[in-house]
């Protein structure tokens, strides 16, 4: 019973992932694509969580935190690149 529910959840999350990928390919501006990438990361967190419940293992729980941290850092880097053109400042000018 539970495995059926989890499989349905996996399919629905895959559909959400496909929707985000459509926005990633189609998005007219760069900001749309960055937000689509952020959404893909969060959907991947949910996928890993449901998959680790489906496989009855706790070995993937670090992966969840890891994807969360990497998605955050990647989004911040892209946002700073869009806004200022540089990712890493050498020295702050103010």
């Amino acid at each position: 019973m539970l495995s059926t529910v989890l499989m349905v959840c996996l399919i629905l999350l895959s559909l959400a992932l496909l929707g985000s990928i459509y926005r990633l390919i189609k998005g007219p501006s760069t900001a749309d694509r960055v937000i689509a990438l952020d959404t893909i990361g969060i959907t991947m967190i949910a996928l890993v969580a449901v998959l680790s419940m489906y496989l009855k293992t706790s070995a993937f729980l670090e992966v969840i935190l890891l994807i969360g941290i990497l998605t955050f850092i990647g989004t911040v880097a892209f946002a700073k690149f869009i806004e200022r053109g540089v990712v890493l400042d050498r020295k702050r000018d103010h």
Binding site: I69, V86, L88, D89
Partner: protein
């Protein structure tokens, strides 16, 4: 124009500690659970990259006042010395051992000499990652 990124700076000051604590946890749990020196070093480097994103490279160099190349060299030295250290006990190169000790706060704990080798890997990964990223970031 002055940019006002107070939200990013405040979030960075909080999140950096969480990332570093998570990296130390992943590093220490690598013997029996997923993790180890490589991914722990990468997460610590990610925390410093986040500080570099929110502030600047000078801030990170003030936090770590050592040359990054020296960190990776120290890690390599530690990894080689744990290999050579097995000669002292008349064993082969890189022979590792473990034993159970009674620590005051943790109780019965398994301490393995493979952790010393992993500290070397950890420092090498931190040093090389920060060297690569900040060398690329500096020349504009």
């Amino acid at each position: 124009m002055r940019t006002n990124d107070v939200i990013l700076k405040t979030v960075t000051q909080l999140v950096t500690f969480i990332i570093i604590i998570f990296s130390i946890y992943v590093f220490l749990s690598g013997h029996h659970h997923p993790g180890g020196g490589f991914i722990g070093g990468l997460m610590t480097a990610a925390a410093f990259v986040l500080i570099g994103l929110a502030f600047d490279i000078e801030t990170v160099k003030k936090i770590i006042p050592i040359d990054f190349k020296l960190i990776s060299a120290t890690g390599m030295l530690i990894a080689v010395l744990t290999g050579i250290g097995s000669f002292v006990f008349d064993a082969n190169f890189l022979s590792h051992t473990f034993d159970y000790f009674h620590l005051p706060l943790l109780g019965e704990t398994e301490l393995a000499t493979a952790v010393l080798f992993d500290i070397g890997v950890y420092l090498v990964v931190i040093g090389i990652t920060l060297t690569i990223i900040f060398t690329i970031g500096e020349d504009q």
